[in-house]
């Protein structure tokens, strides 16, 4: 068991190294660089650009730049953003909260609504509700989020003036009510897609469970439908959903790019896009590594769960 864990850990570290090399290489080989935004700035000369590139170390061979970056990383120094010269971990940290807030709210909506729609669709299979929810899920999955977000803003902010058209809070307000008001639209838009996915998974999971022997046994015992559903069906059907929820972990870091853009949400998705746009190498590398670590942790946890659940693996 201990050896198995060590081997998995070793594999993960090798993988992480590979990810960082490939990421670093791709990023730096992409044409353009952090200074191309200045090439047309008034009064800035070629000499200025070459001097700054030299001062930033951008004119050295790529392997040297990589090794230096890696060396600093191993010592716990993730580098500083080219944009605001803050430490990379600080930059990531300052955007993580906004994304978590949005993601958790959207997931909350999705789990509540998705479970309900999925279960209802399964136990009333081929009913009008089932057809409607199936069609609704398809529509929700197909609607471009950007367009849907703008429509919601148009309806709720421009026309009815009920909710703000974006931002995480009114600057200087800071009350819980204000935060919630700002959260409704983006969480609903982001949650909609997840509701659709979640309800489909839930529906098939419930359908699978209701045909199990223990459900038939419960029914034969004379339990009420309600008790069967809550005590036997739902608890078993939710098990695979926990795995699905676990796999969502890395997406928390990547954020919801489109939703964050439409609703002016200062989260990870926007940070990633802005950092790529500015060729802010240290931040992009930081984000890449961070999400790679999350994926590996997710996989590692899944492995552990299997280990606990499957005695055959333990024996091996």
């Amino acid at each position: 068991m201990g050896r198995y864990l060590l081997r998995r850990l070793g594999q993960s570290l090798v993988l992480l190294g590979l990810v960082s090399i490939i990421g670093f290489g791709l990023l730096h080989l992409t044409p353009g660089g952090p200074l191309s935004q200045f090439t047309q700035a008034p009064g800035m000369t070629q000499e200025d650009l070459q001097r700054i590139a030299h001062q930033m170390g951008l004119d050295r061979p790529l392997p040297i730049q990589y090794l230096e970056w890696l060396g600093h990383l191993l010592l716990g120094d993730w580098g500083r953003s080219y944009r605001d010269s803050q430490p990379v971990l600080f930059v990531i940290g300052s955007h993580l909260g906004a994304t978590l807030e949005l993601m958790i709210s959207a997931t909350f909506i999705a789990v509540l609504l998705g479970t309900w729609v999925g279960v209802l669709g399964a136990i009333r299979r081929y009913s009008l509700f089932d057809y409607a929810s199936t069609a609704g899920a398809m529509v929700a999955l197909s609607i471009p989020t950007f367009w849907f977000g703008l429509v919601m803003i148009y309806i709720f902010s421009v026309t009815w003036r009920l909710l703000p058209a974006g931002s995480i809070a009114t600057i200087g307000d800071g009350s819980l009510f204000d935060y919630l008001r700002h959260l409704i639209l983006p969480a609903a838009v982001l949650g909609l897609v997840t509701v659709a996915i979640w309800s489909r998974y839930m529906r098939s999971s419930v359908l699978e469970v209701v045909s199990q022997d223990y459900v038939r046994t419960a029914r034969a015992k004379g339990l009420s439908e309600r008790a069967i559903l809550l005590r036997h069906v739902l608890r078993n059907a939710l098990l695979p959903m926990i795995t699905i929820a676990g796999l969502q972990l890395p997406t928390i870091l990547s954020g919801a790019l489109v939703t964050e853009t439409v609703f002016t949400w200062p989260g990870m998705g926007r940070l990633f896009l802005d950092s790529i746009g500015y060729r802010d190498y240290p931040v992009v590398m930081g984000l890449l590594l961070f999400s790679a670590v999350l994926v590996l942790i997710g996989n590692f946890l899944a492995d552990l769960a299997y280990l606990v659940a499957d005695p055959r693996l333990r024996a091996a």
Partner: protein, 549 residues
Amino acid sequence: MRDSPPTGLSRRRLLHNTAIGGAGLLLPRSLHAQPAPGTPPKGQVIIGISQEPTVFNPLKPHIEVDEGVYMSLFSPFWSIDPQGNFLPQLALEIPSLGNGGVSEDGLEWRIKLRPGVVWHDGTPFTADDVKYTIDLINTPGFPAMTRSGHRLVRDITVVSPTELTWKMEQPYAPYLSVLAAMFLVPKHILSASADVVNAPFNNAPIGTGPFKWVERVPGDHITLAANEKFFGPAPHIARVIYKYVPDLTVLKTQFQTGEIDYIGLQGISADHYAEVKTFPDRTVVAAPLGFVESIVLNNERPIFKDIAVRRALYAAMDKKSIVDDIYYGLPKPTESYLPMQSWAYNTGLPAQTYDPARARKLLDDAGWKPGAGGVREKDGLRLAFTNSTTAGNHVREQSQQVLQQNWQEIGVEMTIKNLPPAVMWGDYWIKGQFDTAMAGTVYGIGADPDPSDRLSSASIPSKTGSGFNTAQFSNPEVDGLLHHATATLDREARKQDYFKVQSVVREELPLLPMFQWVMIEGTKANLHGYQPNVNVRSNCWNVSSWYWT
């Protein structure tokens, strides 16, 4: 800047080059009276911008939106108003021959500083801060944004806390304009920092400007508060918030819902202009920018060495259709590379007329005969080339299609080859790898009309490794005029030189001028004092004069 129109696509580029010289458009004076002097600042203004300001040491490499924040936080020696006049800020007067600020040979400078000015932390501002600022720019390890002009400064001497002198290695007339964009930084803060490049100052800047730093929420906004110790007229607004709204459609919507009070960089896209004009209680303005859209020819390509080709291409360009049909008639067609508001703008240049017949005749006379596929040929050369600009800029792509058609009609084949911004404006542009490019460019230095960096033969980067004369234009007469114009501070003499340069460039056509850009901006109708200024890189230049009614 180089490439991006207020149509919204690449905003960062858009403003890169807004900084040129000349007088801007003056809005009609508001009928509402300004608050009386002594009235305490009140209320707040939320400025919506589609790029995030992130660099707060004004000497480090930065973009336009950063500069908008600098103009609230920091002060230069003097600022520039929309008419191109210098207004004393930290300096008591503008150095000139008359007041003894500059010697006759342009080499000795003397600056008198305003007494009694304090930094936001209460420390007095002195000549030592000035010396520190210029020295820091020239410090080898410091990544200064630009050393243009500053690198010529020698022997800075602090005469007294309010006076200093320096020598220039050679006379350099644009330096007055360069200094108008040099924001002074506090010596007592930065020199105390072990690492000046990554000093805490970068995220807690201290200046002498009308507003003080309050906070920055990364990815979201920056808050500034009125500086009650400001040396100039006290700001009318208590708080200024720079709000980052990355998407232009969303920016427009938040302007409509009232969540932002002023829509700045990079404004409202031209296709939304008509709609935004109908918003109640909003004032919408097409503010002129300093950059001029043109087709830049790579003058080292053999086909473009024939002046008949350059003239024929220009004559066959349907400028009016491009401006009216694609840009909604907002920008103004131009014959010069300078913005029309510049004091050196030559109004006497001949106007281009769309005349395909004349274009065909020019080519016929020069011996370019129709060959395979209707494309003209001469001595084994085909009149075929590519035109490049930033990929994804749909408005520019439409202009390219019009030109493609215009030139096809005279037997010239233009192929569109657009590239991502970082590629387009990298080596491809600088090292002369393009045939022709569609670019919006500021030709002067800061607000000064001197185009040496873009039109002098000493500034061809592929040959001399310096400058931005990417058209590779080389003309001894222009070189001489530019040399003469930068060596004198006499504005009248410089004007004559620059007039002549514009005539030669219009005659020789190393680039085919199209129009001067505008940016559509807007404010709430009861917010007053906003005034577009073509001479600065952000129209937030005078936020301290804004007020509500």
